[in-house]
């Protein structure tokens, strides 16, 4: 199997890279800093004897076509595209700077749309999996993390469009709404609800391959939390401070 992981340098992406390498996948690791993925690539090829290539790409600039060209040149066929990368600012509120709005939308949404568009013809032809990552932050609008959750909600919507568009029956699309995961993204935040490990998430993502999943909650019990939050009358919801 050949897989590309966008956002492989840390957190969920790194854990996924380790799990996939242990299963014998050939990998292309993508993130903005070459040094991190270079170290990870060395580690994975030493420990699992797998073929690991790297491609440094800042999702802030939209040269996603280069990744398709590179991916096909080194792997020939791509079976799985994992779009894991994400970014959140601690100044993400209504009225934040233009710079933060643009960066958040670029990394979490626009680059993902560009990447999907670039890879779409390949997957239509050969089949495979495109995996996207959303967040429970986009269940309902809040005053915190508003650009990030807007981007994630829009990404979710775009994945629905993708599922609707694809015609190859061997082409699968999975989209996950993640709860709190122990990574740098959630580091230092006080969580009301328990966090899960990156290994838990990456195992579930691997188990979900070859299925069509739209807006699948991980861990599953976030579905109930989500339902409660959505059903809560605005009068009460507006009083919540989280």
């Amino acid at each position: 199997m050949n897989s590309i992981i966008v956002g492989a340098s840390a957190g969920i992406g790194r854990s996924l890279a380790e799990q996939l390498a242990s299963l014998g996948h050939n990998l292309i690791l993508v993130s903005s800093d070459q040094r991190d993925i270079d170290c990870l690539a060395k580690d994975l090829s030493i420990r699992f004897n797998s073929k690991v290539e790297l491609f440094s790409l800042d999702l802030n600039n939209k040269n996603t076509e280069d990744l398709v060209t590179y991916g096909l040149s080194v792997l020939n066929k791509i079976d799985n595209l994992f779009l894991i990368a994400g970014w959140i600012s601690n100044e993400d509120y209504i009225g934040t700077s233009k710079e933060i709005i643009n960066y958040t939308l670029d990394v979490n949404l626009r680059s993902m749309i560009f990447l999907i568009n670039s890879f779409y013809p390949h997957f239509e032809k050969t089949g495979g999996n495109i995996v996207g990552i959303g967040s429970v932050a986009s269940i309902r609008g809040r005053k915190n993390n508003c650009i990030y959750s807007t981007a994630k909600r829009a990404l979710e919507f775009y994945f629905e469009c993708l599922r609707h568009s694809k015609t190859n029956s061997h082409f699968f699309v999975q989209f996950y709404r993640l709860g709190y995961v122990q990574t740098q993204m959630s580091f230092g935040s006080k969580m009301l609800i328990p966090t899960v490990t990156t290994n838990y998430i990456s195992n579930k993502i691997i188990a979900g391959l070859e299925k069509d999943l739209s807006c699948h909650y991980l861990p599953f019990w976030w579905r109930f939390v989500g339902t409660v939050l959505r059903k809560l009358p605005w009068f009460f919801y507006s009083k919540l401070n989280f």
């Binding site: 340098s9 790194r14 580091f187």
Partner: protein
């Protein structure tokens, strides 16, 4: 857009003498690891040190556990390059597949390579193997003012010497290239030889020193034993065992202090007696993993001290003073009615440098219940140490101060001076470095 995220984290030294909430970060990418911090910083491995050498009220702790990758491996040269946050556990299981291992390792697998280098730890037989520095080929060190430096015995030797056993005060060790040994046999044949006293242990250890791969003692210094120190010497030789099952252990959260102290003046005598009778003449074959990391099966030991913790006093006494030291120790322990839960001895050789716990002689280790009489006994021993040319392991003793250390460590002032020459702004500081006025 990549700043180091900071949290307040509950951290304690293993002896529980220093605890609190400290500013803590765990970078997982190079750009945040190498970013400029506004306050003093101090690197941290697994925080499995007895003393508070990886945190402080005024410093930001940089935990290295996310930097745990293998960057280079050559089975024929028997060399490996690893990031400093890798644990001995991860390394052990990787190397085992290639019949290789690290010849010098401390007693717990959760410890990181960065921690082994920064404390220049000793293994099960320092006399034969020396200190951890003997496994090191080269290191990549990061210092905010000096940038990234390759340091080794050949390159930047001055900084290399300050860094080995330098308790993280010269910078962040990013990776290290290590020398490995061939693992010809996967088990250790352990035999126990009874001894009558501390001094009997010291003389027997000296005779046995070059014949065993693993060599240390267990001595009973509980009140009922009249502080004589009867016990046994643990002798280990490599052997092959067809049935070699591995223990898999949780790497973190070694210690869960119990709400009450099981170790009291009364109970330590009973516990030591039972331990002695169960083990004094034992012979067994144990998997190498268990022999290297004996604390895996004895993890609960630390929790038995309860929330008040303990003090460890580890001293290196030259052979010619060993008898006098043993007599003095028994006398002072009797006078102070000391409560010692554990005593062990090892044999050392080598030359002492900077803050390294190294030299020729016998190493005596005592774990004291944390009470005023223990403190008084250690204070009295401190006073006598310079008469014996003895040194205290700074990495084990949470109370020793600058005055005592500068008296007993001949190169303490030199370390202080050279550290300041290398880093006049003293970017790297810990509770330990402040206590010793480094």
């Amino acid at each position: 857009m990549n700043e180091n995220k900071v949290a307040l984290k509950e951290i304690s030294s293993v002896d529980l003498q220093t605890q609190g909430k400290f500013r803590w970060s765990q970078p997982d990418r190079y750009k945040s690891l190498l970013s400029n911090n506004k306050t003093a910083i101090i690197p941290q491995g697994s925080a499995l040190s007895y003393v508070a050498n990886s945190f402080s009220n005024d410093s930001l702790t940089i935990n290295m556990k996310r930097f745990d990758r293998i960057l280079f491996f050559d089975t024929t040269q028997k060399k490996i390059t690893v990031e400093a946050g890798i644990t001995l556990n991860k390394l052990y299981f990787f190397l085992n597949k290639y019949n290789l291992f690290l010849p010098i390792q401390p007693g717990y697998p959760g410890i990181t390579i960065g921690g082994c280098i920064a404390a220049n730890i000793h293994g099960k037989n320092q006399y034969n193997e020396g200190l951890f520095e003997n496994c090191i080929e080269e290191i990549l060190l990061f210092h905010p003012k000096h940038g990234e430096l390759i340091i080794s015995k050949q390159q930047n030797q001055e900084i290399f010497d300050l860094t080995i056993g330098g308790f993280g005060l010269t910078g962040i060790i990013i990776w290290a290239k290590l020398r490995l040994s061939l693992l010809e046999e996967n088990s250790v044949n352990i035999t126990h030889e009874p001894v009558d006293s501390l001094y009997d242990t010291a003389t027997k250890l000296q005779k046995l020193s070059s014949s065993y791969a693993f060599l240390y003692s267990w001595n009973d210094l509980s009140p009922n034993s009249k502080y004589k120190g009867r016990g046994f010497i643990v002798k280990g030789l490599f052997t092959n065992s067809p049935k070699n099952k591995f223990l898999l252990i949780p790497e973190k959260d070694l210690f869960y202090p119990m709400k009450f102290n099981l170790f009291t003046k009364q109970t330590i005598s009973i516990i030591n007696q039972i331990y002695y009778f169960l083990n004094s003449n034992k012979t067994e074959k144990v998997p190498l993993y268990e022999a290297l990391f004996p604390f895996v099966k004895k993890r609960s030991y630390y929790s038995l001290f309860g929330k008040t913790g303990f003090w460890e006093y580890q001293v290196l006494i030259p052979h010619n003073y060993a008898e006098e030291f043993c007599d003095l120790f028994s006398k002072l322990a009797c006078q102070n009615k000391a409560s010692i839960s554990l005593a062990t001895c090892k044999i050392f050789r080598g030359s002492q440098k900077y803050l390294n716990f190294n030299g020729e002689g016998i190493v005596f280790t005592f774990d004291f219940l944390a009470n005023p009489s223990s403190l008084e006994l250690m204070r009295q021993l401190d006073k006598k140490l310079s008469d014996f040319n003895g040194i205290i392991n700074l990495n084990k003793d949470s109370r020793i101060n600058h005055e005592t250390v500068s008296l007993i460590y001949p190169e303490f002032e030199l370390f202080h001076k050279r550290l300041r020459q290398f880093d006049p702004q003293r970017f790297f500081q810990s509770d330990f470095s402040k206590r010793l006025k480094l």
